[in-house]
């Protein structure tokens, strides 16, 4: 049926009964529209996928690394829990830590869900509920996460509201469980965290689909334009509007205002964090300054003529910092109202006057449309008055350096314990080079300044000393292209599942890297060269564009944007992470013909055993990173995090020696059987880029690999281990099922080791393995750990 009832013409008469109609029909509609056979868990509640979580977590045991030994969540505490003691409510340390992880995930998922809610609300007002979700001819599975989790196919932006209602309801249900008392089983808490992670990918999918269709972003275009990126983009001869955060709306309206007034070449929009990414998806002229680590640097430079903040990854001292530099600030979000007076209803020119004159340091404007006009006018007016050297004069630099007493207070306050004292000492004798090294790792977080008893503006000192170095950091980032096309999936589905494309590496997340920002590029190029697929988002996507090789080319210029072997795909901002899980889901749907609708466990089980995808969050500072990774995990995708990730307090790590954990039902042979432990972790910390590289290669192994695939994967794993660890890995033999799995070039050597060190029986005449492997290789092997999946397919 396609009757389109307009704006309430008929409806007015139905007023009193229609609420009921709406609700009844809503559920009916979900139940009845049989676009696909309905799986067991549409719109799951907390306990509905618990059976799947318990299977995962029995293999992948949560391990906890508490940051604090006590809990003070309620007034019966604080309770000391050292050694897994119980608090006054009876909770033990392990369960308390699982609870803290759940809170982190809740915060992250709420951020995305609210972001989605803001977008959908605005877009419905602008474009109407009926704006269709159309991602172009190559994308039929428009919303794999929504299909999988809710069991519906959203057709219009209006449908996305229903999805958000579900997500919000579930988030509140989980938040409820944080209340003192209640859950006593840490695995059950982890199950709630996993639930939240799953919901997060649904929320992200809503947000990104909404903005793609409404703002006509690239729709899976592998050749999306290249965008200027890097701190150097700030230096410009035009007025600069610096937009910071995650929500495109204010920035988009600035962009529109510029175009409507023919100013697009007269004023520059430069962005930080995801707002930057999404602005460049809307308009490739927009420039990307970088990640959160550049916020203080950008403001302190004094270059921006006006700063516009929206929500999420924005420093909580932005107003204070802007005020110090005399940069007017426009806050636009309820999430960060910054104590500013709400000027939404005021005359724009009056607001502009107040901001330009410095009468007020900032304003709150809740209407994104009005922000466009005000921001542009302020920027153009303020620009005229720009002056003073960037950061400081040479004299001031010397002065500040001289003031340092090398007391090391800054070093102990610094998240990286950077040796500011040493750099200062060297600088006193005229050698400023150590600051360049520091700059590369420094988060520009400002904690050193808070600790310095001499009130030295340490961040500014670093920037001034390293300025030449940093202004050269510019590169190119391919604009976020959104989802992977169904057509691409069709092409790579088989090689990925077979293992002949050795894996999909997904660098995502935030910039609190352990060391140089360059390391992300170094890790990733290793895999691009080896023809893995790389698919990225958010701050990692930006940082991958920042570094150029000797020929001046950044990775995006060297590797194509296709979702195929050796391709470097930038999906977009944080909310685009849903396209990474989406791609995995689509492989199951398109290549393996699995039904998605409300069928979460089956698909996750499929992905866990066959799709060699691994996430990398090298700098997971945000709660969103925690929740995104947890969403990966529930779907059977492992993630490697940088060492700071340990502060989210838990990993999911399998134990190789627990042989009884490594089993599957084989649908082909109708047997429960032992398998090799792969992947053997779902969430794991790596300390160094060397370890991360080896770990990523390793975690691409899957029980479902064909011998060709396994051979390729093992080759990379072993080569990378020898390159970065200096020797063979300690577990490679576990993954050998047949001599055909062995890397050809190393075959003899490895067979010898299998014989000598592991006691395997080898038939040297045929170079065949006779005895040793955990299981025999079987081309028709069809693993699952879920009973109802087994029942469904076994014949």
């Amino acid at each position: 049926m396609d009757i389109n009832i307009g704006n309430g013409i008929i409806i007015d008469e139905l007023r009193n009964i229609t609420i009921k109609i709406g609700d009844i029909v809503d559920e009916e509609a979900l139940r009845d529209e049989e676009w696909e056979e309905l799986g067991p868990t549409p719109k799951p509640h907390i306990l509905d996928l618990r059976y799947w979580d318990r299977k995962l977590l029995s293999r992948y045991e949560p391990i906890y690394m508490p940051v604090q030994d006590f809990c003070n969540l309620c007034t019966m505490g604080p309770c000391e829990l050292t050694g897994n003691k119980e608090g006054a409510c009876g909770i033990d340390l392990r369960t308390q830590k699982a609870r803290m992880v759940t809170i982190a995930c809740l915060i992250g998922a709420s951020a995305h869900a609210t972001h989605a809610r803001h977008l959908v609300h605005y877009l419905i007002e602008k474009f109407g509920r009926d704006k269709p979700i159309d991602l172009g001819p190559d994308i039929d599975i428009e919303a794999p996460n929504i299909r999988l989790v809710l069991g519906i196919k959203p057709k219009t932006i209006g449908d996305l509201e229903k999805v958000l209602n579900y997500v919000e309801q579930e988030l509140v249900r989980v938040l409820h469980t944080i209340h003192t008392g209640q859950e006593e089983d840490y695995i059950d808490f982890e199950s709630k965290a996993l639930h939240v992670g799953m919901l997060d990918h649904v929320g992200m999918e809503v947000a990104d689909i909404a903005q793609i269709v409404a703002f006509n972003y690239p729709k899976g275009d592998p050749d999306a334009p290249l965008i200027d990126v890097g701190f150097g983009v700030l230096e410009s001869e035009k007025p600069i509007i610096l937009v910071i955060g995650h929500n495109i709306l204010p920035a988009r309206n600035i962009d529109d205002y510029l175009r409507e007034h023919g100013l697009e070449n007269k004023v520059e929009i430069a962005g930080l964090c995801c707002t930057a990414i999404d602005t460049s998806r809307y308009d490739p002229r927009a420039k990307v300054v970088g990640t959160l680590s550049y916020e203080l640097r950008a403001i302190r430079s004094g270059i921006p003529d006006v700063v516009v903040t929206d929500e999420q990854c924005i420093r909580a001292d932005t107003l204070r910092e802007c005020a110090k530099m005399g940069i007017p600030l426009i806050a636009t979000s309820e999430a960060a109202a910054r104590g500013l007076i709400d000027r939404t209803e005021d005359d724009p020119d009056e607001i502009v006057r107040d901001l330009v004159s410095g009468n007020v340091k900032g304003v709150l404007i809740r209407d994104p449309d009005k922000v466009g006009e005000v921001a542009v006018k302020v920027a153009m007016n303020v620009y005229k008055n720009r002056k003073s050297p960037i950061y400081m004069s040479d004299e001031e630099l010397e002065d500040l350096v001289d003031r340092c007493t090398m007391c090391m207070n800054c070093v102990f306050a610094c998240p990286h314990n950077l040796r500011i004292d040493r750099a200062m000492e060297l600088a006193k004798s005229g050698d400023y080079s150590y600051f360049e090294i520091i700059e590369d790792t420094c988060l520009a977080c400002g904690r050193c300044e808070q600790a310095c008893p001499r009130n030295i503006r340490i961040v500014d000192v670093i920037m001034k000393a390293a300025y030449k170095h940093i202004r050269e950091k510019t590169g190119k980032m391919r604009a976020g292209r959104g989802p992977i096309k169904d057509t691409e999936i069709r092409k790579v589905g088989q090689p990925i599942v077979m293992g002949t494309i050795p894996g999909v590496i997904a660098p995502i997340g935030c910039p609190n890297y352990p060391k140089s920002r360059k390391e992300v590029s170094e890790i990733i190029e290793e895999f691009l060269k080896r023809k893995y697929i790389v698919v990225t988002t958010g701050c990692h996507a930006m940082d991958l564009g920042m570094y150029r090789d000797e020929e001046g080319k950044s990775l995006y210029e060297k590797y194509p944007g296709v979702f195929d072997a050796g391709g470097l795909v930038n999906c977009g901002s944080c909310v685009s992470n849903s396209h990474i899980t989406g791609a995995a889901i689509k492989i199951a749907a398109i290549f393996a013909q699995r039904k998605l609708r409300g069928n979460y466990a089956e698909i996750a089980d499929y992905i866990l055993h066959r799709i060699g995808a691994v996430g990398l969050a090298w700098g997971p500072y945000s709660q969103k990173a925690a929740s995104i990774a947890t969403g990966f995990n529930r779907l059977g995708i492992p993630a490697v995090v940088g060492p700071h990730g340990s502060k989210y307090r838990r990993g999911y790590v399998g134990k190789l020696w627990k042989k009884d954990k490594w089993w599957v039902y084989d649908i082909k042979t109708k047997k429960k059987m032992e398998i090799e432990p792969c992947p053997d972790c779902l969430l794991v910390v790596a300390e160094t880029k060397e370890e991360a590289i080896v770990q990523l290669a390793r975690l691409c192994l899957r029980p479902g690999d064909t011998y060709m695939g396994r051979q390729i994967k093992l080759t990379h794993y072993i080569e990378l281990s020898e390159k970065y660890l200096g020797c063979l890995p300690d577990d490679w033999h576990l993954y050998v099922r047949t001599e055909m799995d062995l890397p050809t070039k190393m075959k003899d050597r490895l067979l010898k080791i299998l014989e000598d060190e592991h006691g395997w029986k080898i038939d040297w005449s045929k170079k065949k393995i006779l005895e040793g492997p955990i299981r025999k290789y079987d081309a028709g092997f069809n693993p699952t750990i879920v009973e109802h999946v087994y029942d469904k397919y076994v014949r």
Partner: protein
């Protein structure tokens, strides 16, 4: 160096501070039950790698090398048990004294916290910064002095 902790973390039970001499004594008695766990700092710090290689040679202690620290040690002729951080517990059979060196302090603190709360082994940190979550730790020290002393104390192992 001042009495500071590298990051404001708060522990009810804090490591006892020990000097190299004490650790040397412990090692002499219980070497067979001990293992040295090395971290990624050895990749970037040649002096540290040299020192640790010497320490291992002199003491004959078992080594588990994480974070890629196997490479510099192997290059220095040390026979190590190469290990990813995620596999570390796999390798701890038969030992009950774990000595840590060469880690990002904030990461080591997390590892030690896990062990402190959920395992029953003796942990020792000989890294530059005091590690409250260990059972025994060298105090803060911003140079190689303490480790050098340890190495020299071990000469007669």
């Amino acid at each position: 160096m001042k009495e500071k902790i590298f990051n404001p973390e708060f522990q009810v039970e804090k490591a006892r501070k020990i000097g190299p001499e004490t650790l040397a004594r412990i090692l002499k008695k219980r070497k067979s039950k001990s293992v040295l766990i090395t971290g990624g700092k050895l990749l970037e710090d040649e002096i540290l790698a040299d020192l640790i290689a010497e320490l291992v040679k002199k003491s004959g202690i078992k080594v588990i090398a994480t974070g890629g620290s196997s490479k510099p040690l192997i290059e220095r002729g040390i026979n190590v048990n190469t290990c990813l951080l995620s596999h570390i517990t796999e390798k701890l059979t038969d030992v009950n004294i774990l000595i840590f060196v060469g880690f990002e302090p904030y990461l080591l603190s997390r590892l030690l916290s896990n062990i402190k709360h959920f395992l029953n082994v003796l942990t020792v940190s000989i890294d530059f910064y005091y590690q409250p979550n260990a059972k025994l730790s060298f105090p803060n020290c911003d140079n190689y002095g303490l480790i050098e002393t340890l190495v020299s104390c071990l000469s007669d192992c």
